[in-house]
Symmetry: C2
Subunit: 248 residues, 2 copies
DNA sequence: GGTCACACGATTGTTCAACAATAAGTAGGT
DNA sequence: ACCTACTTATTGTTGAACAATCGTGTGACC
């Protein structure tokens, strides 16, 4: 205790500082509650989960810096544990590590969006073309679309977005490859990053519920060729639409 | 400079260690030399590189355990740094982390091979179908195949394998997606893991040099449909061949 | 002799404390 | 206003310590 480290005085100073980052601190306290001794899973995994949720929910906006000491104080973990969690988030592409500068929430660009749809085009059409969809798989897809339609009627935008992502994740899962599933998760996480912070947007997802329904319908009839064409148009128009929204 | 980093004294200590398991230690010492103060890159990245090379070269066989203290002694880094490197290798799928047990070099299974070719089928045909191959891209592909042919004539199996992987990596790169490039690297790394330790094998790769040449030729004439069909057959027969070799 | 329980030892997971190295901010001089 | 040097804050890395867990060997008991 001989050395007076900066974070020993940080809480008081942040509380004393009125305008600079008081509101920000409150938000962080809200979402970055100290870890409960829940399960015996690795602490870094839990920490990464907390941060992942906070980021995907748009509570920590793209471009924000994630200071080590602040978060370790909030979460009650050591810096090493947090750095391990950062490494996982960086591998997911949710976060960018700048040498000797720190970790920042990734700011998606227009090129990111274009890459996302290039990947999705290859992955999803690949899954449709190279695999057969057994009845139970089609059932799962239709179940998801039913949930999406309920969410649309209820005006529950987050639930609609979630169902939409689940639908396309399930589509890729048909390729039966954990590595592809992982990549698709990564892509969809980056997708959520694009939506983060612009939730006042008119519901982007409602347009595509019908597209998913039609796709599931084509797959249920095993009209693979038509399903693939429909999927291509679906993805291309979604990309166009999204890019147009980002520009203005 | 002024600081006496651990790897400055590591050589003497590692040489002084007599060795409970002499043969094993010797092999490790050969490949896991203490880090030189090469560039200013992150130490964990360098450590991961050393281990990656040792594993891909087949010097550390699949299934081997990677004990923390032994490797930290050899490399002259702290346990934290090594664990960070382990995390990178685990993200690459080169290594499996067993909770409270340790880190082991991944042992590829037959299912791994099947997954690899499912992924390659989707990725490579996707790249061929969704992108155009400009003359310079075709030139690069042909240049790689020329190197492969030279390696085949010289009987240089590792060079042939390397050229083969470079060819298909280049193919995927045409999709212009860093994330897909990363996945392909991961897939090819796992591929090298399959070959690791069985280098007495008759040259598996020579069969496919001709296949690559033909594929590049079809692409240079922009015969996309034929190129795709050729690629599908190429991958399916490679998978069949490889699985047959693994069984006996 | 076989089997179960328990204790011991080795290894991994996590924290704390310290220091080096780089980046950012600030004061001072011109 | 601009450049420079100093100060400060933050990141990168190490070391030591301890808790938690796994594996193993040993001994009691049947």
């Amino acid at each position: 205790m001989s050395r007076l480290t900066p974070h020993d005085v940080a809480p008081t100073s942040s509380a004393a500082a009125p305008g600079t980052s008081a509101d920000l601190t409150d938000v962080w306290d809200q979402w970055l509650a100290p870890l409960e001794a829940a399960d015996h899973a690795y602490v870094p995994v839990r920490v990464a989960g907390v941060l992942r949720r906070a980021i995907s929910a748009g509570q920590i906006l793209p471009g924000s810096k994630l200071p080590e000491v602040k978060i370790t104080d909030r979460l009650g973990v050591s810096r090493h544990t947090l750095r391990s969690a950062f490494q996982m988030l960086a591998a997911d592409g949710l976060v960018d590590r700048q040498p000797n500068r720190g970790v920042f929430v990734h700011e998606p660009t227009g090129e990111d969006v274009r890459e996302i749809y290039r990947i999705r085009l290859i992955l999803e059409t690949g899954a449709v073309r190279t695999t057969v969809f057994p009845p139970e798989a089609v059932q799962q897809l239709k179940q998801i679309t039913r949930g999406a339609e309920r969410a649309r009627e209820a005006g529950d935008v987050p639930a609609m977005a979630q169902a939409n992502q689940a639908f396309h994740q399930r589509l890729v899962a048909q390729a039966r490859s954990p590595m592809l599933d992982e990549l698709m998760s990564k892509v969809l996480a980056r997708m959520r990053l694009v939506f983060a912070g612009r939730r006042g947007d008119p519901d982007f997802h409602s347009t595509y519920v019908a597209g998913n329904v039609k796709l599931a319908d084509l797959l249920s009839r095993d009209q693979r060729q038509e399903a693939e064409e429909h999927l291509v148009n679906y993805l291309l128009s979604a990309e166009r639409d999204l890019l147009r929204r980002l520009e203005n």
